[in-house]
């Protein structure tokens, strides 16, 4: 089944996410962690560490990476890939900022 992209949902103002922090977005299919870096970039990943399913939104955000709170796997925010010796990937989702608000592409986020 082919889901079309570009169903941008307004999920809230950028300032509601702490810098070097994250908030979650609950969707019917999955929970998504939306991260905000020190330089105000946003990234969205499935809120499950590829290692043991830890909530990445609870991790420490540093640069464009997050440390999983359970076992300290370091996950790249850009593509969800584990870094270093660890192998695994958290699915990433399109997210963007417009006029100070954060938009998540639900066309992708709601797809299987």
């Amino acid at each position: 089944m082919q889901h079309s992209k570009d169903f941008w949902f307004d999920i809230g103002p950028l300032h509601a996410i702490p810098q070097r922090g994250a908030r979650t977005v609950k969707t019917p299919r999955r929970e998504i962690a939306v991260f905000r870096t020190a330089s105000d970039e946003v990234f969205a990943l499935e809120n499950r560490c590829p290692h043991k399913g830890g909530p990445l939104s609870d991790g420490i955000v540093h640069g464009r990476k997050v440390a999983c709170p359970l076992h300290n796997w370091i996950i790249n925010l850009e593509d969800g890939e584990a870094t270093g010796a660890d192998k695994g990937c958290a699915r990433s989702f399109p997210v963007k900022i417009e006029n100070g608000r954060v938009y998540l592409d639900m066309g992708v986020a709601a797809a299987p």
């Binding site: 089944m1 082919q2 889901h3 079309s4 169903f7 949902f9 999920i11 809230g12 509601a16 996410i17 702490p18 810098q19 070097r20 922090g21 908030r23 979650t24 977005v25 609950k26 969707t27 019917p28 929970e31 939306v34 020190a38 043991k52 399913g53 830890g54 909530p55 609870d58 991790g59 420490i60 955000v61 540093h62 640069g63 440390a67 709170p69 359970l70 300290n72 370091i74 954060v102 998540l104 639900m106 066309g107 709601a110 797809a111």
Partner: protein, 825 residues
């Protein structure tokens, strides 16, 4: 050489015969030598020459012939009709022709405006007097050289690139020269104050007087200039005044023709003006809001325009990064890009050689460079800047230059430091050179970084040269040097935990960014290892002042609960000394039922753990516990956890003192305190030690005569019995001594270091001396502990139940109903 083609060639007219015009034609001829019939109008009565080499001509290093770019033969070879000394006064865009001062009309198919810029003349009285010149063309140089023949005084207004080059030239020609500069430092647009300071010294060494922060008020004289008067009333005698305060794009002609002119003549990425048959190039243009006064951008523009005129599908001009070199013999200076304050930077200073190098970075890319005294690597830095190369892998050696970047792999730091000469400054803060350090190491038998710090001051201020000092120790002592015990905090810094703590106090660093900036952190915002450590160190060093950074805390301390394997949390309310009441138990039972707590467990620290609570439910759980008078047990904290007790003299037939009461008092006094690692206490009522106080971080064992205070026990990954710190007689003293030792640990230990580890590192005797023997010191520790407790006396659960930090617990959005996304086929 020329051929006459059957069809008439297009007519190209060029206004201006400077470097930009010449370069455009070079670029055009390289691609299409015969495409146009070309006429060039030049205001100067000579061929095209290299204007930026006028300074060496003034200084006598070069003759005019040396700086000619295109001689007469070149114009002839390309059949260019050069009208030298002929000024164009009007452009008729509708008729597509230009008219000269003598009334001649020249038609064009394509027109290039390359009229350059004019020196700015200050609108002050006397500016038009004979003897006042600018520094723009060969006529100006000749005027200066003529004036210099008579000796006398020269005043140069403007301490920028041109002004300083003019001043140096005039001084060489025997004039007593003064430079007047409006701003506080020379060349402030290209140099930072450090490099400007070195430059001013070098200029003054040439016998040139430099007056900074000086505003010119008037130029005095009747028939010719005699003096310059400053705003503050000072008058400087002058036989020659050179005005070098800047340039302005020369756009009068374009403006009269109705072309769009802002600061300069506006062009697009293909150097086209708002008339499709008129192009412009060089210092007269404004491209993407930018005007340029240097040669490199002009060459970049010429390339684009040359290709465009040749009919090529050229890529557009995208603007230029610029670099500056001052052409004064013996002054070696290079600058490029941005060097605003407060950026990531690497600095090398060597005062004895007059060398200063500063490379400014952002996200591991060079965005600016200022070099003074040794500019050999300027082009290399500029290249890295223009290419936006990631320099992370060569950062350690970057400031030493390209020679130290051997074969892609960075040169070993020890070898690089070994290669430095003895007079190279290692520690910029305290001005300590390599030779001073190596001599001290040899002569005084120094073996550690701390030795070097105390003996030479090197690396004792900002700590950024620590790795170099260490390399010097290795280099000087060879195998005799062992770095044992020196472990950098993390990959973000070369400093150890202890060193960072020391600098936080000595340099009064009060925020995470301040620490990272001042101590030269190698990463932009730290890592999960150093951020929590820094947050703790700052909290400990500046209680009340420092604003806690939740984003630098591990989730447990941020959410005030313990994360479990499934992402839920556990909640442990405090039970003072292990005591509870039916009401408290009832409240806990209610919470457990209402929030469907799957597991209720008694902990090893004599309290109750509620497991499996969803993050969103935490504030509500706390609200309910709070209502029953319960507070956070801080079971999640690097801080005081529990004080375990036995029933003591109140019930036990062996009890010697009220161990339960002391435990409750201790827990009340110490709770809420953040510490390097978790801290567990116990108080046993007699030496039978039912509270297991001898495997706790701090344990108190009650005896008939008072209280034995133990420290440094462990019963986790590592098992260790406590050491007896000392004996006190009263309960009051017991509390004071325990708090003091806790504070000493708070102030000295590395983050995540339990008390036993800190005690083994520090030595029990040292701790005993500080707590048991130094009564004044102990009381001071107690006072500092009390002060730190002022900042944490609020219950974090009650605060959050009342709505604080709500974002931590709430989803940003809940999207429940999503309509089918696939449109009907």
């Amino acid at each position: 050489m020329s051929q006459v083609s059957a069809s008439p060639r297009k007519k190209l007219v060029v206004l201006g015969n400077g470097m930009a015009a010449g370069r455009v034609l070079d670029e055009l001829f390289a691609r299409a030598p015969d495409l146009y019939e070309i006429t060039v109008f030049g205001a100067e009565p000579r061929v095209n020459y290299d204007r930026i080499m006028l300074s060496p001509v003034l200084a006598g290093d070069k003759q005019f012939d040396d700086i000619i770019i295109h001689d007469d033969a070149w114009y002839a070879q390309h059949n260019i009709d050069l009208r030298r000394g002929e000024t164009v006064v009007a452009i008729d865009r509708a008729a597509r022709n230009v008219r000269t001062q003598s009334g001649m009309v020249e038609p064009y198919d394509e027109l290039i405006i390359a009229t350059g810029s004019r020196p700015i003349l200050l609108p002050i009285p006397g500016a038009e007097l004979p003897g006042v010149v600018t520094f723009r063309d060969l006529d100006d140089v000749n005027a200066m050289l003529t004036a210099a023949k008579g000796g006398g005084n020269a005043v140069v207004i403007g301490g920028g690139l041109l002004g300083l080059e003019a001043a140096a030239g005039l001084a060489l020609n025997g004039m007593k020269t003064t430079v007047i500069h409006l701003m506080p430092t020379l060349m402030e647009r290209q140099l930072d104050p450090n490099a400007a300071y070195l430059l001013q010294k070098a200029i003054e060494k040439r016998g040139i007087e430099v007056l900074t922060g000086a505003n010119t008020n008037a130029i005095l004289g009747d028939s010719k200039v005699t003096a310059v008067r400053l705003q503050d009333g000072r008058t400087l005698p002058a036989d020659l005044v050179v005005m070098a305060v800047g340039i302005r794009p020369n756009t009068a002609l374009a403006k009269d023709a109705g072309l769009e002119v802002k600061r300069g003549l506006v062009v697009d990425d293909f150097l086209m003006t708002n008339d499709e048959h008129i192009y412009a190039v060089g210092e007269c243009v404004e491209h993407r809001g930018q005007c340029y006064g240097l040669v490199a951008p002009l060459y970049d523009m010429a390339k684009t325009l040359g290709a465009k005129l040749a009919g090529e599908q050229a890529s557009g001009y995208a603007g230029s990064s610029t670099s500056t070199k001052l052409k004064v013999t013996g002054v070696d200076l290079f600058s490029a890009g941005d060097f605003a304050e407060g950026e990531d930077e690497i600095v090398l200073r060597d005062p004895s050689r007059g060398v200063y190098k500063r490379v400014v970075l952002r996200d591991n890319r060079i965005i600016g460079a200022v070099l003074y005294g040794d500019t050999g690597d300027g082009p290399w830095y500029f290249d890295l800047l223009k290419k936006s190369t990631d320099i992370a892998s060569m950062r350690d050696m970057l400031i030493f230059g390209q020679a130290y970047q051997g074969g892609g792999a960075p040169m070993d730091p020890a070898a690089a430091v070994a290669a430095l000469s003895d007079d190279v400054e290692i520690c910029g803060c305290n001005g300590v050179c390599k030779g001073t350090i190596t001599k001290a190491i040899t002569a005084k038998g120094l073996t550690t970084i701390d030795d070097v710090r105390s003996q030479t001051k090197a690396s004792s201020s900002c700590g950024q040269c620590t790795s170099k000092v260490e390399a010097l120790l290795k280099f000087t002592l060879g195998d005799a040097y062992s770095a044992s015990g020196r472990k950098p905090m993390c990959k973000c810094t070369d400093l150890t935990h202890e060193e960072v703590r020391g600098f936080i106090l000595s340099k009064e660093l009060k925020s995470v960014p301040a620490v990272m900036q001042e101590l030269g952190w190698k990463t932009s915002c730290g890592c999960p290892s150093c951020r929590p450590a820094l947050n703790y160190y700052l909290l400990c060093a500046w209680p009340g002042d420092y604003r806690d950074d939740p984003q630098s805390r591990f989730i447990n301390e941020r959410a005030h609960a313990n994360i479990q394997k499934d992402g839920t949390f556990s909640v442990v309310p405090r039970m003072w000394g292990g005591l509870t009441t039916p009401d408290e138990l009832r409240a806990i039972a209610d919470v457990a039922e209402r929030f469907h707590v799957k597991t209720v467990k008694v902990t090893g620290g004599q309290r109750i753990d509620l497991l499996g609570i969803k993050k969103e439910d935490l504030p509500a759980v706390w609200a309910q516990l709070s209502a029953a008078g319960m507070v956070s047990g801080q079971a999640y904290a690097k801080g005081l956890r529990t004080v375990k007790t036995c029933v003591g003299s109140e019930w036990c037939r062996f009890g010697t003192q009220d161990s339960t009461g002391l435990g409750v008092k201790l827990e009340h006094f110490l709770c809420g305190s953040w510490t390097p690692a978790k801290v567990k206490l116990a108080v046993s009522g007699c030496p039978r030690n039912c509270a297991e106080a001898t495997v706790k971080d701090i344990g108190v064992i009650c005896v008939e005569s008072g209280y034995d205070i133990h420290i440094a026990g462990a019963a986790g990954l590592h098992v260790r019995a406590t050491d007896l710190l000392g004996h006190v007689a009263t309960e009051e003293e017991a509390i004071e001594y325990v708090a003091a030792v806790l504070q000493l640990y708070r102030e000295q230990a590395a983050y995540l270091e339990r008390i036993w580890k800190w005690a083994e590192k520090t030595g029990l005797e040292k701790i005993r001396a500080a707590i048991m023997d130094d009564h004044e010191g102990r009381r001071a520790l107690l006072e500092r502990f009390k002060k730190s407790q002022h900042a944490v006396r609020k219950d974090p659960w009650a605060e959050r139940a009342a709505g604080q930090e709500l974002h931590e617990f709430m989803p940003l959005a809940v999207l429940n109903t999503v309509k089918p996304l696939v449109p009907a086929e």
